[in-house]
């Protein structure tokens, strides 16, 4: 039954997360200015506390709203403080979302406490995720996988404790042979080779990782090692996208909301109000723009929530998660850009956070599948087209 209200527990956790976000906000400029600097231990501790408080609330008795939906709601709050800093403390990387979606109970127990990054992209490809050339070979003698290859753009690749690596077990078999493997950082043969200097999200490192005869136990593969042909749903590692996309989309929502709220606040200081009962002929240009942005963000948020709620109900959400990611990524990007413009000199200044949110937010149009890739997925599904029919 249609219900847009959250359980008291979620609302309480959300409030706590929002308070924690204010703390993140207070330190987020520093780590933007100091790219690649380790977060100070006392700050990590404070964040871990906030995170633990939220978890405690969610563990209280009473009904829940579903794990993925809750994660999405809380991640938006956290991201409104800083889209990246929180992850360092909550030990939640994109790899964790993938593990949450497809790992066995045993694997969840082994890896759930690790901060897991996600390694997909390689120097030779970006959006064409089927072009993975990193290999995973099974050494039947030791029952270990041997990984070889190079990964780039690994978000939190330095800070994480393990990396979920996409590799092919059989290059001749295409997408179905691409599997994801949990590679703990202590394994031999995994090396950090480069840290990127980025436009934004500087509080998080973006690393290149080299895998040279890196051996991991057989059980570190996520999902089945079998190479099956696709029938309908996502195959192999690709299924994890359905779980990670709502998460990254919620990051977009959080950053855009921060920018929009900040802009509204500054405008309110200048005496401007935002009436919801008026039409275009009674609004100033700035009022109209703010309301348009609010509506756009609402539409995006509802789509993202829906896609996460479907995951909780174990409904196939490939269409909806791409719709949400595509809409949220673009809407958030544009909202942050407009907020900087509306704020004038205050928007452009590095003394405030609006310009940082604009830089940070742009990543949402790009990573975990660009807006274009999301649209491709949406279009194929509404058309019932194969990859060959719509390239």
């Amino acid at each position: 039954m249609i219900d847009f209200s959250f359980t008291p527990k979620t609302l309480k956790a959300k409030k706590t997360a929002r308070e924690g976000a204010e703390y993140l906000k207070s330190i987020s400029r520093y780590y933007d200015d100091h790219e690649h600097e380790e977060v100070k231990p006392e700050e990590i501790n404070r964040m871990k506390e906030d995170s633990a408080n939220t978890n405690k609330i969610m563990a209280e008795p009473g009904p829940n709203d579903g794990g993925f939906l809750t994660m999405v709601v809380l991640n938006e709050e956290q991201s409104s403080g800083d889209p990246m800093l929180g992850g360092a403390a909550s030990n939640m990387g994109l790899g964790n979302a993938a593990i949450g979606a497809v790992a066995t109970p045993d694997q969840k127990a082994r890896f759930g406490h690790l901060y897991c990054a996600m390694a997909i992209t390689e120097p030779g490809f970006g959006s064409d995720t089927a072009a993975v050339s990193t290999t995973a070979k099974l050494d039947t003698a030791t029952n270990e996988w041997i990984l070889n290859g190079e990964k780039i753009f690994v978000t939190a690749g330095k800070r994480c404790e393990a990396v979920v690596v996409w590799a092919t077990v059989d290059k001749s078999k295409g997408r179905a042979a691409i599997k994801s493997f949990v590679v703990e950082k202590f394994r031999k043969g995994i090396t950090l080779t480069k840290l990127e200097h980025k436009l934004g999200i500087r509080a998080s490192d973006t690393a290149s990782i080299l895998l040279e005869d890196c051996r991991i136990p057989f059980d570190n593969i996520l999902g089945s090692p079998e190479v099956k042909a696709a029938k309908g749903g996502q195959v192999g590692a690709f299924a994890t996208f359905d779980a990670t996309r709502p998460i990254v989309a919620s990051m977009a929502l959080g950053v855009a909301r921060a920018a929009l709220d900040f802009t509204k606040g500054k405008l309110e200081e200048a005496g401007i109000t935002f009436p919801y009962d008026r039409g275009i002929h009674s609004l100033s240009a700035v009022q109209k723009e703010i309301l348009d942005m609010e509506a756009n963000l609402d539409a995006a948020r509802l789509l993202v929530w829906q896609s996460a709620a479907m995951l909780d109900k174990a409904l196939r959400n490939s269409l909806e998660s791409s719709m949400g990611k595509s809409k949220a990524g673009r809407a958030a990007t544009l909202i942050c850009q407009r907020c900087v413009a509306l704020l004038g000199p205050l928007g452009y200044s590095r003394e405030l956070l609006a310009e940082k949110w604009m830089r940070d937010c742009k990543i949402n149009d790009i990573f975990e599948g660009t807006g274009q890739i999301q649209m491709l997925i949406v279009c194929r599904q509404i058309l019932g087209f194969t990859r060959d029919q719509l390239k």
Binding site: F4, S5, G279, L303, M310, C379, F385, Q389
Partner: protein, 369 residues
Amino acid sequence: MADFTLDEDQKQIQDMMRKFAEKELRPIARDCDEEDKLPADLLEKVWELGFCPNIIPEKYGGYDMGRSALNAAIMVEELAWGDASLAIGALSPLLMAVPILEFGTEEQKEEWLPKFCGEKFYPATAALMERRITFEPTDLHTTVEMEKEVMVLNGAKCLVPLADQAEQILVYAATAKGAGAAAIEAVIVDRNTPGVTIGEREKNMGFKPLPLFPVTFKDVEVPMTRRLGGNKGIQFMRLLNLSRANLCAMAVGVSRASNEYAIKYAKERFAFGEPIASRQAVAWMLGESAIEVAGMRLMVWRTAWRLDRNEDATRDAGLTKMYCADKTMLITDYGVQVLGGHGYIREHPVELWFRNGRGFDTMEGLAIG
């Protein structure tokens, strides 16, 4: 607990309305548009679906099946998917029935509601819009004086559905100009009251089958018993929000109709040796439209859900209205664009949805549920 899925009852009414729209509205939509006609037998067919008696309590002669803005939104999306003009026309009695259910005094309910429970279509309507470029529903220029023993109405309304045949018109008027929503009253006016003039049927770009009329009020005297809500009056914003939710649901229906048709066409039409949908530029228009239809629908549902909980829905309704008006234009424009030259001719329905699609920005208060 958050949930974005319809329950079984809702799926059933959705399905029922979809079938009705497919069988009764779609086949006649083009002819009705070309000939500006709203067939009388269609009014009766929709009447038989029981929109009015279903939501009216038994003591006034209804079936008392509960009233829900959300369910109404689900239903009218389907009807508007069939044809928005025909839907608005056939549902116009709700324009009076719903406000009475919301705010009528016991006496008013007893007097009026049984009329909406009969076997035949009971013609009633409401008048909100006024013909000026800067029109705002919360800033009406039609006034009602209430100092005397009778109320006196003055002003001019436009876009009043079925005003030519309505027994009563629920007229929205301000006790003071510029005093906003709080100063707005709703007055039940018999069409034949002296001083009420129904003008010539309006001609518009879209919603052509829908008979819309300008209505002027010159020193129209109405007994105080016709003030909706008696001394308490009405909460105008709630009625406006209910109307916005309902009209936006129709906008979703029109948008979805256009998007579905364009998807089908783009798969079947070949150019350069492939279906045109195989080109990203075409596919993108379809994809963007599909995303927006889904987003609009969730916004409408949330607005309606909030109204059903008796919460203040002004923010949701206001944003949804703005958003749906813009996106409906975009989506119905894309519908024509995907069909290209074929979209421009009146053999395909996309140009009709394009014309109707633009109307949602302008028209307020033409539907409620």
